[in-house]
């Protein structure tokens, strides 16, 4: 079973995601944004970075990349689709997740560890976590402030202390089916004790265990 890690021009976390998935025994391959199908893949991760240079606003161009058609089909078919950081922004722009991500409350880029709490274990990214489980993973974003004016959205992970102004302290948000999840902090950056934390493995193991053969 193979995870497609989508690469847009400007994406920069793709290798980190592949190596984190591999370190857990999973199988992940890079897929260029101009591809038009995802045949042979069982799940998708949109990794972090600055797809298309964040031109206009984050994710605004990426949603029109050819790969987003099959990603949307994947999402509708109930297969696992996860967006990390910029990937989360792209999923919101593409209408696959509710809400939008705007500039951090303090108008400053934030790169540091944050404590988060899993509030919903019924999604492809959280099914291996304990309800209420606290985890420490790195945040790395400028537009990390999730807003949902209509009050829509299933918040599945919350910041313990609000770093960026997100509605409901949301760090991760899912669609109603729980198969599409966007998360702002980076689970793949917390997968090795030597680097400071392995808490991200809880999310990535959840993701891998929710894969079923295509």
């Amino acid at each position: 079973m193979t995870t497609a890690v989508v690469v847009f021009p400007g994406t920069n976390c793709e290798h980190d995601v592949v190596s984190a998935i591999s370190s857990l025994g999973g199988n992940a391959r890079l897929v260029w944004h101009r591809e038009t199908d995802l045949d042979g893949y069982d799940s998708v991760i949109l990794p972090g970075g600055f797809a298309h240079g964040d031109a206009l606003r984050t994710g605004a161009i990426a949603r029109f990349s050819p790969i987003m058609e099959p990603v949307a089909r994947f999402a509708r078919a109930g297969k696992p689709v996860v967006g990390i950081c910029n990937g989360f922004q792209i999923l919101c722009e593409a209408g696959l997740l509710p809400g939008a991500l705007i500039a951090n409350r303090d108008l400053s880029f934030i790169c540091r560890y944050v404590d988060v709490e899993v509030t919903d274990t019924g999604t492809v990214l959280t099914n291996n976590a304990e309800p209420g489980q606290r985890l420490r993973i790195p945040l790395n974003s400028y537009e990390g402030n999730w807003v949902s004016p209509e009050g829509e959205g299933r918040v599945v992970v919350r910041y313990v202390d609000d770093p960026n102004g997100s509605t409901d302290r949301a760090a991760a948000v899912a669609n109603s089916a729980g198969n599409v999840v966007g998360i702002m902090p980076h689970p793949e950056r917390a997968t090795d004790r030597l680097l400071g934390s392995t808490d991200g493995n809880v999310f990535l193991r959840s993701f891998l265990s929710s894969l079923v053969p295509a």
């Binding site: 400007g10 600055f50 240079g53 964040d54 880029f109 950056r189 030597l194």
Partner: protein
Amino acid sequence: MTEQPVHRLLGMTDGEYASVVDILDRPPMPAELAMYSVMWSEHCSYKSSRKHLGRFPTEAPWVVVGPGENAGVVDLGDGWLAALRIESHNHPSFVEPYQGAATGVGGILRDVFTMGARPIALWDQIRFGPLDNPKNRYLLNGVVGGIAGYGNAVGVPTVGGEIEFDPGYTGNPLVNVMCLGILKREQLVLGTAGTPGTMAVLLGKATGRDGIGGASVLASASFDEESGAKRPSVQVGDPFEEKKLIEACLELYDKALVVGVQDLGAAGLSCATSEPAGRAGVGMEVDLDRVHTRESGMTAPELLMSESQERMMAFVAPDKVEEVLAIADKWEIDSAVVGEVKAGGTLRISHRGEVVAELPAATLADNAPLYDRPARRPAWLDEVQGRPGPDLSFHDPADLLRDLLDDPAIGSSAWIHEQYDHMLFLNTVVGPGSDGSLLRVKGTDKGLAVSTDGNGRLCYLEPRIGGARLVYEAALNVAVTGARPMAVVDNLNFGNPEKPEVMWQFKESVEGISQACEALEIPVVGGNVSFYNETDGVDINPTPVIGVLGLADPMPGDPPRLSRATEGMELWLVGPEASGNLSGTAVQRLLDDKPGGIPTAPDPATARHVIALAADLAHTAPVLHDISDGGLAVAAAEISIASGIGVSIEAPEAEIFSEDPHRFLVAIEAGASRPAAESARKVGVFGGDQIVLNGSALDVDIGASTYLDALPRRMR
């Protein structure tokens, strides 16, 4: 206003102009004059410094590429190489702090990936005037914003750096940036044009009028009130274009499609054609009409001088050109075949059907002027060195510690480094806020450590001692992560070289750096000189910045961290006893209006011993910390704050705030055997919730909040 000859407007002296006429045997055409003016600028030709840079030791068995190429390259063993370089972007950052700093990052990245390496980390060394001046806050904000905006988006982590404040930088901030890349030996690429028939392919962003004269007009002259008018000479950065260019170039190297590569930085196309041709001993024909531009009507001199960013020149065998263009297309970057390498040594450039330049390619680099500028020890130095040191007798040590922790150059750098992505690539084992950064090399047992250090005050007081101590300090900083120092890059920031006093400071610093490198047997593999750091006739303190690369092979399984001290651990000090000399220290800066005295001289034999000892101890000790700014007091407090536990220090008074070189702290479990060093002495025990200096106490909580807020409170 009398009309100036064109060469003077381009920053060229009458004598230099005469040399050009001599080379060509005729007056130069406008495009030729433009090319010589940028290539012979101080920034590109090192005409005032070249003579002295030859003093640096540059050879060692592990040096693969020494100074003179785009970046230095060293051998890490097992087929792995590291490429490193340091650069300044001082003047552009004063004129336009965000773009100046951003394009500095872009330029240093190109220097490194030009060598075939993937850039894996950046370090920034930034210096400003005091933050009570709103202009300095604006500059700091802009520079940090530019580094974050470019570095984060281009996808290369900024994993460390340093900051210093001094009134002398108010009119002339310093913005230096160092980059490290890694590559496999077979990926190494040099800046050569290859053999006749090779095609020159220009990759990346379209050429515009930005940055024209950046090297000659902006970087190689002093500042005055008119400097704002030089804003059009500052380039504008586009990290997205650079990110695509990096990926495209790395794919070209992977597929072995290029003979050589040269980035377009200072001096743009002038440099990217003449230097590779000169190195290969060939000529080249270039058609400027093929250069993709983003403005119409650009003249030949403008095209040749433009410093538009995010451009690379690839030299490609004719049968590979199509594949190269296809890869450029895949990564959505523009490309154009602009020239062809020819036998002979003539660089012939045409524009709109006419030959606009026809000159011996190598003369742009090889015939650059070389000045032996007069040097003289400053007359004021005796008075400065004769000043008495600070008198600590009326001060409570805990109060002094608290004031030192509130110094924005000593306090936490989190306000800065949390704006930088410092974790990308999953290599950052020890990140910003420590002595040295430690990166793992995935797929190996190796770790790479880097520390960058500068200290303008030390070098102002005694440039030879200052220069040497920077090398020793950076080397000790990499050693405390478990690495052995292996190479040096230097960024020499100085005032106006036409003043003999500045030239003396330069020569003395170079001498000090060289002696220390010789003592440690580490070569200088690259560097940069930034002169004319003066505003309204006042020069900055001489500010060499030293970057040391160290290799830990193997890397410690659990490297020392400031946060690993626990209840009951003992704190030991290793290194010579403090001399009591406080010249050039942070506590002198705190208490006295002016720096004075002669800083403690380094000792090469002690340095070697202490550095080797630290690198060994790093494999077992939970905490190792170099003693520098603020002495034992600040070093112990930093461990205490990071670990969230108190520490009680008992040591001779002279030790508390001494910054004498070659000294570090090590924490060991209670009852563990003492560090295997004759000079080791126990100076404290961890426990409680206070930092106690010979009975004078500061609550850890108060110390921590002071330390963490030192920078943010001034920037609010």
